[in-house]
């Protein structure tokens, strides 16, 4: 009787999830399979037909491409920088906001503003702000007697400019998620700790951080995956330059597809990127779980 009910339950569940699953298959699985299929052919937009099978030739060519490897390295540095900095900054802000009693909604609204903006708009605004002679940033630091900075024209500076703009844009994402995690923490362990005489620092390291770990894992994962995909900012602000200092891999693959028109090669590069992201995700997931053990 109970087994029958469970089976009926399961069937009903599948029925309800069916349309959603079908849509998922169509919009996620189909492009993925098409990409994998295309990556095995010499498929260009000049001749968009799957008739020249090259096996793993596109993958070999991608890995042999110095520009692609460079773009992967730049992207890795970018992802590590933005995810770490945004996490640290986000955690500090979230902890501060967690103890705010009044007007929290106001802070929320202010924090969410950058997050609601389209990255293209963010890029354009900052490109104007950072104009070396006519931008407001150099004007303001000039008032403090600091020499104007070549924000986007110096290869050593441009990378960090991009990181900083990304932080400005995305840090609230971390704040909001971490804040939600903090709000859900049970009060009992803190009361117990206070009874035992533990100070706020010990409570943070021994209670808050361990209890927050699942939220932190998810936040880091999502942010990491999004950071790998960063494209709009580079496209608007630097076009991968100056030199190739900010040539992130998403923009590189885009050019492979729409400037070079070589979709086969671009598909192979996307799959390499997908494999790297999956590996990173798996590693981060396991690492966070091992911390608990």
């Amino acid at each position: 009787m109970a087994a029958g009910l469970a089976r009926r339950d399961r069937r009903f569940g599948l029925l309800m999830a069916g349309p959603g699953l079908a849509a998922m298959l169509l919009v996620v699985l189909f492009p993925l399979v098409f990409t994998a299929w295309t990556s095995l052919y010499e498929f260009t937009l000049l001749r968009p037909v799957h008739d020249l099978f090259v096996g793993l030739g596109n993958f070999a060519a991608a890995l042999d491409d110095g520009g692609f490897r460079h773009a992967l390295r730049v992207t890795l540095a970018f992802v590590v920088a933005v995810v770490l900095l945004e996490f640290l900054l986000g955690l500090v802000v979230a902890l501060a906001l967690d103890s705010v009693e009044r007007g929290r909604a106001v802070y929320y609204a202010i924090l969410l503003c950058p997050l609601l903006m389209n990255p293209v708009v963010v890029g354009l605004i900052w490109r104007m702000f950072l104009h070396p002679t006519q931008g407001i940033v150099n004007y303001v630091i000039g008032l403090a007697g600091i020499a104007p900075v070549n924000w986007l024209g110096d290869p050593a500076v441009a990378f960090w400019t991009l990181v900083a703009v990304d932080i400005w844009h995305q840090v609230s994402f971390m704040v909001v998620l971490l804040l939600a995690g903090l709000a859900a923490l049970p009060p009992e362990p803190y009361e117990a700790a206070r009874m035992e005489g533990a100070g706020p620092i010990r409570a943070f390291f021994w209670i808050t951080l361990p209890l927050l770990r699942p939220v932190i894992t998810v936040t880091l994962l999502i942010r990491l995956i999004f950071a790998v995909r960063t494209y709009d900012l580079v496209y608007i602000m630097t076009r991968g330059g100056p030199g190739n200092a900010t040539d992130l891999v998403s923009y590189f693959i885009y050019r492979q597809a729409f400037v070079t028109l070589n979709l086969g090669r671009a598909a192979a590069m996307s799959l390499v990127l997908l494999a790297i992201v999956l590996l990173l995700t798996a590693w981060l997931h396991r690492y966070m779980r091992s911390l608990r053990a």
Partner: protein, 421 residues
């Protein structure tokens, strides 16, 4: 109640009627000439009943938006405008309809176009695929007020032993750049160093001015490792790093133009259509102070052509529009609004010459400009060249090494295209 019903029925009838009207869709770049086209288009609709929907986007998005529509059996654009450096790619892929039959049938006179424009954005291997729309040959724009200032002239003559005048030679221009560099208020030059096309297009002027070439016209053998090319890149790097404003290595043409329009640069080698913008007080602090001259020795030619894609849903209406917008009367109207002409009859028009005294200089520019290499992989070559030039300008590569790398990739692309064995 009845009245409301009648009204809404009428409204519905109107709406469906509007949907029945023929509409042609065009993708265009956000440049002054597009604005002038938009201004005259209502007349076309009034004459023919054909609605014209012009989608205006940033240059960098155009190629990406066009290609999927051109590959598709039925695209969404009836008319497109083609930048000269897509011409090889688009015709090789068979994305454009030949226009010869339509031109003959409607008796359109193509002989009025400058031959250089027709070669660039008109005819490919004897077949007409496009009508030249506007030209954007690059010109030297400079501060006329400074050049004509007697005190400056005396100081220049004392320092260099030559008169200060509109530069006739490349070295003469470089001396003026050095002379007028008085940081932080004035820079001798402002450059557009953003990769890929701003830097690649601007540097082409330096290459031609130094007497260099992209390739041997007889054999397509690339010539980017020539001493002239290396010298041109050294000139460019010095201008950006020593005589230009901070950040020029990352400027697109809008940012570079702003520096010049704010009176912070003596000169800017740029697209000639900016000439009218300098005299627009809403975007310029140097109204009446900037003038245009051909780049000493030779500059870069450029232009756009009107074309009908193979995937055009309504090629007949498309041709009707192209023939109308390029008719002598409308071409003159567009020029009168400030557009960049491609037709000899427009350049010869007395009213326009009275309005724009720089027309003879512009015509000389068109006749003397050189073309960028046009082949199937031009966009890809621009990408490669832009990257290597940017690496050299920011000091990450020696100019000779950067050009050697660009030369090799240029050769590989030419081989891929069958231009080289």
């Amino acid at each position: 109640m009845t009245r409301a019903l009648m009204l809404s029925t009428a409204a519905i009838a109107l709406l469906t009627g509007a949907a029945d009207a023929r509409t042609i869709h065009i993708l265009m770049e956000s440049v002054p000439d597009t604005r002038f086209v938009q201004e005259v288009v209502p007349e076309f609709t009034a004459q023919t009943g054909i609605e014209v929907d012009i989608e205006v986007v940033n240059y960098a998005e155009m190629h990406t938006k066009l290609v999927p529509q051109l590959v598709a059996p039925a695209g969404s654009y009836d008319v497109i405008v083609v930048d000269f450096y897509w011409v090889g790619e688009f015709t090789k892929a068979g994305w454009l309809q030949p226009l010869d039959e339509r031109i003959a049938a409607s008796g359109f006179d193509t002989s009025v176009y400058f031959p250089a424009m027709m070669d660039l954005v008109g005819r490919v291997d004897g077949v007409v695929y496009m009508l030249p729309f506007y030209n954007y040959a690059m010109a030297l724009t400079y501060r006329k007020d400074l050049l004509e200032d007697p005190a400056e002239q005396a100081a220049f003559a004392a320092k260099y032993g030559t008169p200060l005048r509109v530069p006739q030679g490349w070295d003469e221009y470089l001396k003026q750049v050095e002379f007028f560099t008085r940081k932080p208020d004035l820079h001798g030059v402002v450059n557009q160093g953003l990769r890929p096309d701003p830097i690649a297009m601007e540097w082409s002027n330096y290459l031609f001015a130094r007497g260099g070439e992209y390739y041997d016209p007889a054999t397509w053998e690339p010539k980017l490792t020539s001493p002239e090319a290396v010298a041109a890149l050294e000139d460019y790097k010095r201008n950006v790093q020593e005589f230009g404003p901070l950040g020029a290595a990352s400027f697109g043409f809008d940012e570079a133009f702003n520096v010049a329009a704010q009176g912070k640069a003596y000169s800017y080698i740029t697209y000639n259509f900016f000439r009218t913008a300098y005299d627009d007080p809403s975007q310029s602090a140097v109204v009446g102070k900037m003038e245009l001259a051909p780049v000493p020795v030779a500059g870069l030619n450029g232009g756009w052509g009107w074309a009908i894609p193979r995937s055009s849903p309504d090629p007949d209406a498309a041709w009707q529009f192209i023939a109308w917008i390029e008719s002598p009367e409308i071409a003159k109207r567009r020029a009168a609004l400030g557009g960049s002409p491609t037709r000899a009859d427009v350049f010869a028009d007395p009213d326009l010459n009275a309005k724009y005294p720089y027309y003879p200089a512009l015509q000389a520019l068109l006749e003397g400009s050189k073309n960028f290499p046009v082949f199937t992989y031009t966009p890809q070559f621009v990408e490669v060249l832009g990257r290597e030039l940017s690496l050299a300008v920011t000091g990450e590569k020696e100019p000779a090494a950067a050009l050697a790398a660009a030369n090799e990739e240029f050769r590989a692309l030419l081989r891929q295209d069958g231009k080289l064995p």
